[in-house]
């Protein structure tokens, strides 16, 4: 497994608030990396630096370097839109557009200039298949996406993200608003997808991290406390604070 994302001494400030403190890590490609840690420790913040969604929060300042595939994504030559096309994101709350199922998935490809009906049909089908939703919606693609259940909506959002053919998929607590069965489906989906995509997921559910991820990063107050193979981190944590956290003694 090679490194796809290389983060080096990253510091992030919201105004005067120091949200990420000297974060460095290598995220391997075609694997699932999980971020865990108590609420407010900066997991979402770090995730958003990877597709530069933090750019839109006024007063945010970033120091340090993030390289994706060897390119510094904060350098001038990098086009944010192209970066976001390559680094997809799934949010905590399912957020399909108030459009049809088809138009939701076709939204991204259309943005990036695909007009042909045949091509779009094909992308919509493969994306929905990849997101394990095709069977449930193939007969009513014209129906409003808002008529789907929460779990289906979240898989639709995954399909929508996959439709622009990203290399990396960021998932910010993508299952926290879902019931256990939908959660399981999305976990299985993540397992399937990791052969083709690099997945970085934030989760509050340690069992989830233990079940699905290859690497786990434990954060505390904006710092990386421990970063290692998931199995090792859960069975044999190096740091006392990690042990306290995973055994439920705080957080």
């Amino acid at each position: 497994m090679g490194t796809l994302i290389d983060i080096q001494s990253l510091n992030l400030y919201y105004g005067t608030f120091h949200a990420l403190k000297d974060v460095s890590m290598d995220i391997p490609e075609k694997a699932i990396t999980a971020f865990i840690g108590p609420s407010g420790c900066g997991k979402s913040t770090l995730l958003r630096t990877l597709n530069r969604m933090n750019d839109m929060i006024p007063g945010t300042r970033i120091e340090g370097q993030i390289a994706v595939g060897g390119t510094d994504i904060y350098s001038r030559e990098v086009d944010v839109e192209t970066l976001r096309k390559k680094v997809g994101m799934v949010f905590q709350q399912p957020n399909p557009f108030p459009k049809s199922i088809y138009d939701n998935v076709a939204y991204g490809p259309r943005l990036h200039g695909i007009r042909s009906k045949g091509k779009l049909d094909e992308i919509v089908e493969t994306s929905l298949r990849s997101a394990a939703l095709w069977g449930e919606v193939k007969d009513h693609l014209k129906r409003s996406a808002l008529s789907l259940s929460g779990g289906q909506q979240q898989r639709l959002c995954i399909a929508r993200a996959l439709a622009v053919n990203p290399d990396i998929l960021l998932m910010d607590e993508a299952t926290s608003a879902l019931d256990p069965i939908s959660t399981l489906k999305i976990e299985e989906l993540a397992q399937d997808l990791k052969d083709r995509y690099t997945i970085v997921m934030v989760t509050h559910n340690m069992h989830q991290a233990a079940r699905v991820s290859n690497q786990t990063v434990f954060f505390l107050n904006g710092e990386v406390v421990e970063y290692s193979d998931t199995e090792k981190l859960f069975s044999n944590p190096r740091d006392q604070r990690t042990e306290d956290y995973i055994s439920g003694r705080f957080g």
């Binding site: 597709n51 969604m53 839109m56 839109e81 192209t82 970066l83 976001r84 096309k85 997809g88 994101m89 949010f91 709350q93 957020n95 399909p96 557009f97 108030p98 459009k99 049809s100 939204y107 991204g108 943005l111 990036h112 014209k142 959002c157 929508r160 993200a161 622009v164």
Partner: protein
């Protein structure tokens, strides 16, 4: 001395019990009270709904009852499709005014809707917040300006400008009226659209940006469609105002019964014609009835337009 505390305990117990009882009594009262409130509220709601419908039908009825007398002496065909309006010679063709009203409303909407949406997008999405807090109240103020004032502005500023522009003595007409109406409805439409845009949840924008959309793409493809019903509402309000507006139109349209086949040509619309003539017609003349009929027509047109827009809106929501 020994008994005192225990008796006080008993007393307390009794008090507690009785206070509970009175509490339960209160709860009962409360229940009754609540159901009374609910019932009263319901009755008031239904009563006001009935009242509003009643008013609407009464207006329709009285306008229509007098208006319909027109057709004792004038054939409906002549009234609706003839452009000969010469009441002195018993000619009551209202086509010019009907056409004028439609043309004026259409032209006004054609200019004002795109302009308002652009203004609203700038206001909601692009303007820095200190400017927003200044602009919004100013625009709300503009909504409340009496239409006569807009008429004056049109007469004293716009028409001379149009004369210079065309190089002729012509200025009054459809275009002048449409511009004045546009200025009048612009604050209304753009402020409501602005509110509709602001109400679009951030999560839609986030989803769009995260897929690599630019700000422009996000606004055009996600924000505006999501704000569609609010924008429709704004358009209905603006349109209602444009159809029914009288004073500002009278002052700039020229008030001549000739068909508005050019932008700079004095003409007349339903409202302006009614208000110019109603004060000096004999009470029970065909002329008077015809003016009532035109008022009735105005009413029906505005009702129809509202229904039409609602239908379009519903269709839009389904897709």
């Amino acid at each position: 001395m020994l008994e005192a505390p225990s008796s006080s305990v008993i007393n307390n117990g009794v008090e507690l019990g009785s206070s509970l009882k009175s509490g339960s009594g209160k709860a009962f009262d409360r229940k009754k009270r609540l159901s009374l409130y609910n019932k009263t509220f319901k009755v008031i709601c239904i009563a006001s709904a009935v009242f509003v419908c009643l008013i609407l039908f009464t207006i329709l009825f009285f306008m229509g009852r007098t208006g319909i007398l027109t057709f004792d002496t004038v054939s409906p065909l002549t009234f609706f499709f003839s452009s000969e309006w010469a009441p002195e010679n018993d000619q009551y063709g209202a086509f010019i005014f009907i056409f004028g009203t439609f043309a004026l409303t259409f032209l006004t909407m054609l200019i004002s809707v795109p302009l308002s949406v652009i203004i609203a997008v700038f206001l909601a999405e692009i303007t820095p917040s200190w400017l927003k807090t200044m602009l919004r109240p100013v625009m709300d103020l503009l909504v409340g300006i009496p239409s006569v004032v807009y008429g004056f502005l049109g007469m004293t500023i716009l028409i001379p400008m149009l004369r210079d522009l065309t190089g002729t003595s012509m200025g009054d007409g459809l275009l002048a009226a449409a511009i004045v109406l546009t200025i009048m409805v612009l604050p209304t439409i753009s402020r409501i659209t602005d509110d509709a845009i602001v109400a679009v949840p951030k999560k839609y924008r986030d989803a769009s940006y995260a897929l690599g959309a630019t700000r422009f793409q996000t606004i055009v493809k996600v924000v505006l469609p999501a704000a569609k019903s609010g924008i429709m509402y704004a358009v209905i309000l603006g349109m209602g105002r444009a159809i029914g507006e009288t004073m500002a139109v009278v002052m700039v349209i020229g008030n001549t019964p000739q068909i508005a086949d050019e932008l700079f040509k004095p003409t007349s619309v339903l409202t302006s014609n009614i208000v110019m003539q109603i004060s000096n017609v004999p009470f029970d003349s065909s002329w008077n009835y015809a003016l009532y009929m035109m008022g009735f027509l105005l009413l029906v047109i505005s009702l129809l337009m509202i229904v039409l827009v609602r239908l379009v809106q519903r269709k839009g929501v389904k897709s």
